[in-house]
């Protein structure tokens, strides 16, 4: 790969600023005044606003769940300050626009190192950025944009390091790996693949023990640091160092190891565990959105490799892929159109009819959806926490009836603290709550208290 003149650096800044402005403008004008973000954006913005307000709930929401990893929330945070008066979720849209703009600037630089002509690079990037898929992500404020940025960057730097052995791609690859984990836990799969690639590269190069040691330290240090920070934050904020891992199906692994007394055979237990863990791979992570941009990036690389002496021809594959992306229709639904939101809206409407003096404890990240859909009167009655501390809730609502709204422990709701801490509450109840009624597939339970009004 070639070194590039600094004019490409300035080009990158210009591309980033231009595309960012275009993306934000498009999201603001197509969304205004309704605001059409996705659930991911609603939750991220909700956590961000709680953080800016200095609430404990905000700090808990930032670090307390592997499912809702912190980086997309942190990306939204500075933009929330600016877009305070704007419609819901614009900050997340701006973050998504920024991520795609940064991706375009990065690809421009990467393809420039491959000596692809400037005009064709820019054409491909324009087609990509203007595509319905990308614009749809931006309009919905999806943090999949950050996943795409980190994923494409990781693969490109891995390739560059493999070919050149240079420090720069190794350093950026090492920094992106933990950032990917802090975006989507599923990035761990890519992490493992990259680590295997690094080991393989070291084995093939055979440059000595200290070279391997030094390389692994460079690669591993950022990941270990961010992991340690996350654990420390959980210890300080949640009171438990591995709180954020609680949503993982550890019981399936325990069942394999300790389940000799269970009726299911070992094979059945393994299948069950495998199924549960495979579900995790897909849940909340749109892998498909990563494929096409990655393909576009690699098409440029492959074209430059095959047509070394004809850069214009070498650039054609990435242009073709970009045009293909441009032609694809937008997929995905906005938050307002999503089925889960309709259901939540029905639950909220039913909650509005409950005792207006009673408080309602809603735990977890879904609480952000509920707060946005609730009327001001209902919102004032909601006790929203990320982690459930009944004693505290009872203390805060002294003299009132306290209800707990419990979602079904499936899908996204499986990660909510109410279903982790009180696994039998939904469906069977516990000794501290009395069943009140069902609201669609959610359940309302009344907390028994000795100072019952």
């Amino acid at each position: 790969m070639q070194t590039i003149p600094m004019t490409t650096g300035r080009q990158g800044v210009a591309i980033f600023l231009a595309f960012f402005a275009l993306g934000v403008a498009a999201a603001a004008f197509t969304g205004y005044p309704e605001g059409i973000p996705c659930q991911d954006a609603v939750v991220r913005c909700g956590i961000g606003e709680d953080l800016l307000a200095g609430l404990t709930r905000g700090r808990q929401g930032l670090v307390g769940s592997l499912r809702w990893a912190p980086l997309p929330t942190l990306a939204v945070l500075p933009l929330l300050k600016v877009t305070r008066e704007a419609p819901l979720g614009l900050a997340a849209c701006a973050a998504a626009a920024g991520a795609y703009a940064l991706l375009c600037a990065f690809l421009n630089s990467w393809w420039a190192r491959l000596r692809l002509p400037g005009a064709l690079r820019l054409g491909a990037l324009l087609a990509f950025f203007a595509s319905p898929a990308v614009q749809g992500h931006i309009a919905r404020g999806s943090s999949d944009a950050i996943l795409v940025l980190v994923g494409v960057g990781t693969v490109c730097f891995l390739i560059e390091w493999w070919e050149t052995d240079e420090l720069r791609p190794l350093a950026y690859l090492s920094l992106l790996l933990p950032l990917g984990m802090a975006t989507r836990y599923q990035f761990g799969l890519i992490f493992v693949v990259v680590l295997l690639a690094v080991f393989l590269h070291l084995r093939l190069r055979r440059r000595g023990h200290f070279y391997a040691q030094g390389t692994l330290i460079i690669v591993g240090t950022p990941a270990l640091y961010i992991a340690a920070l996350w654990v420390a934050a959980n210890w300080l904020i949640m009171g438990e160092p591995f709180f954020f891992l609680r949503g993982l199906p550890w019981q399936t692994l325990r069942a394999i190891v300790q389940g000799g007394h269970m009726s299911a055979s070992l094979a059945e237990r393994i299948c069950s565990a495998g199924s549960a863990w495979l579900t995790l791979v897909h849940e909340g992570c749109a892998w498909e959105v990563l494929v096409l941009p990655l393909l576009m990036a690699l098409a440029g690389w492959a074209g430059a490799r095959v047509f070394r002496r004809h850069p214009r021809i070498g650039a054609l594959p990435c242009v073709v892929v970009a045009l293909l992306i441009l032609c694809l229709p937008e997929s995905g639904t906005s938050w307002r159109e999503a089925e889960s939101t309709w259901k939540m809206a029905r639950v909220v409407r039913q909650l509005e009819t409950t005792d207006s003096e009673a408080a309602i404890l809603v735990s977890g990240y879904r609480g952000h959806d509920m707060r946005y859909l609730a009327s001001p009167a209902l919102r004032a009655r909601l006790e929203h926490t990320i982690s459930v501390y009944l004693d505290e809730a009872l203390r805060r609502t002294r003299g009132k009836r306290l209800y707990v709204i419990v979602p079904p422990p499936r899908g996204l709701n499986r990660w909510e603290d109410i279903n982790i801490k009180f696994q039998t509450l939904y469906g069977r109840g516990t000794n501290f709550a009395l069943y009140e009624r069902s609201l669609d597939d959610w359940q309302l339970w009344q907390v028994v208290r000795i100072d019952q009004p």
Binding site: L52, L167, A171, I217, L229
Partner: protein, 500 residues
């Protein structure tokens, strides 16, 4: 100023004993005559003292009136400073990683140089109490791949250093080596001796080497090629410095990661950004005549190299990095290391104060980008070392005692910036040490970069010593002791398994 300069005069009869002409001696303090504003004598001018007093008075009054708001404001400013420093450092390293910034030459290009076309090259070697280092120095000079008849080596000895004079006399010096004895006078500094040498230098180009230096043999030829290739405003080429006793003990390992970070990552990035380069004290190659026009080094500045780098930039001139290494001895004894570090910090503060005498003029000359580099690198480096202990103590106190009163000094968003500094900033500084050792090819030293936070504590101790010494002995030169390395006769270790 006339009176001040006369304080440093030496009688002509004495000068003639040392073979120094009055004109040459006059040149030594010419900067004090012609450009006293660029000289660290005194360290603070009267306007600066007034501004400082006013600032202290103002802060004291504010503290008395409303201590919490005052401390909050100061805290906010310091956190903002840290943020800028972290962002700038990250950017400089990013620039340095992205593109090779040094002037590089192939073996074929070097071999193509014919001896006849090579100019006369002057090497200045200031010596003070260096009897152990002299034999190694001679060996290093003999190994230089440069025609002896085109070399002029001036050993700059001090009048009162009889031992080194006798050691030099006992050696069979090559014909291109000449001894110059500097009369005993104040200030007793390396830059004063270098000015004596500069006044007498005949070479077209000139370089400084220290007593323990082992430059790569083809460094002078690379410098010749470098001056040919570099733009016309480049008057200085800085070679990279590193240590030949990297693995002697833990201190030298950490010192090596620091030097690698400085010369392999940081300075090349600064050079590309056209920020003022704080030169290393050795292996600076100059266009001799243009250095004379700049009036040489400031004899009163204890980091004359850093000062000269800023002065070059302020006069519209530039420094480029040369892809050649000079191997030095890393100070391996903690006591001497702290003394050396104190001198560097003192010198950086001196340099900053000198060049801030006319801030508007300086900023006009440097431009925005270079000015930012000047403030963050020259001023920010010692400042950061001095205020670090306060924040370390605050952080440890908070974790240990959870003092709620501390929260009033860290409201939102200051707490957010502070957390970024704590978690992101420290990581950037530590990780850059790992990268630097890796880039230099010291793969076994990469892991020692993780111990850099402990090294910062030592740097801070040295910094405070230097700051306090600035108050009562501003021009005192803390001599670095050499010859502590165990492998005195070892040859230079080539960089194994380079990562390039």
């Amino acid at each position: 100023m006339r009176v001040m300069v006369e304080r440093f005069d030496v009688a002509e009869e004495r000068l003639s004993c040392f073979g120094i002409s009055p004109a040459h001696w006059r040149f030594v303090f010419e900067i004090l005559r012609q450009r006293p504003d660029e000289c660290a004598c005194p360290v603070l001018t009267w306007p600066q003292r007034c501004v400082l007093l006013l600032a202290v008075a103002g802060v004291s009054w504010w503290l008395w009136r409303d201590a919490v708001t005052c401390l909050l404001f100061i805290n906010g400013c310091l956190i903002a400073f840290y943020l800028f420093l972290i962002a700038y450092k990250f950017y400089v390293i990013h620039v340095s990683l992205g593109h090779p910034r040094e002037l590089r030459f192939t073996q074929a290009e070097i071999a193509a140089l014919r001896d006849e076309e090579l100019p006369l090259y002057t090497i200045l070697v200031p010596l003070y109490r260096e009897t152990e280092s002299l034999p190694r120095l001679m060996q290093s000079l003999r190994q230089l791949n440069y025609p002896p008849d085109k070399l002029e080596v001036l050993l700059l000895l001090e009048e009162d250093d009889v031992a080194t004079q006798e050691a030099a006399a006992a050696l069979a010096l090559p014909p291109f080596v000449r001894k110059v004895v500097v009369p005993n006078s104040q200030p007793k500094t390396k830059p004063k001796a270098c000015n004596v040498g500069l006044a007498q230098a005949r070479g077209k180009y000139l370089v400084i080497f220290d007593a323990e230096d082992r430059p790569e043999p083809d460094q002078l030829k690379k410098a010749v090629l470098g001056f040919r290739r570099a733009p016309a405003n480049v008057v200085c080429l800085q070679a990279k410095l590193n240590f030949y006793n990297q693995r002697q003990n833990l201190l030298t390992r950490l010192f090596t990661t620091e030097y690698s970070m400085w010369f392999d990552l940081y300075l090349p990035g600064l050079s590309h950004l056209e920020a003022p380069i704080p030169l290393g004290g050795t292996s600076n190659h100059f266009d001799t005549e243009r250095l004379r026009q700049l009036l040489g080094w400031d004899p009163f500045n204890v980091t004359e190299d850093c000062d000269l780098g800023v002065r070059l930039a302020a006069h519209g001139l530039a420094t480029a990095m040369l892809d050649s290494t000079t191997w030095e001895e890393a100070c391996s004894a903690l006591g001497y290391w702290i003394r050396q570090r104190s001198r560097w910090t003192k010198g950086y503060i001196q340099t900053y104060l000198v060049h801030m005498r006319h801030p508007l003029r300086l900023h006009r000359r440097l431009g925005i980008g270079a000015s930012i580099g000047f403030h963050l690198v020259i001023g920010g480096t010692p400042f950061c070392l001095l205020i670090n202990p306060f924040y370390w103590l605050m952080t440890l106190s908070w974790f240990a005692f959870r003092w709620e009163s501390m929260a009033s000094f860290f409201p939102f968003p200051i707490i957010l910036w502070a957390l970024v500094c704590l978690f992101v900033g420290n990581f950037v500084f530590v990780y850059s040490s790992l990268l630097a050792a890796y880039r230099r090819g010291y793969y076994d030293l990469v892991k020692y970069g993780l111990l850099v936070p402990a090294y910062w504590v030592l740097m801070t101790i040295g910094a405070w010593k230097g700051f306090l010494q600035l108050l009562y002995k501003p021009n005192y030169w803390e001599k670095t002791r050499h010859g502590l390395d165990l492998e005195a006769a070892a040859s230079v270790a080539p960089a194994p398994e380079t990562g390039r």
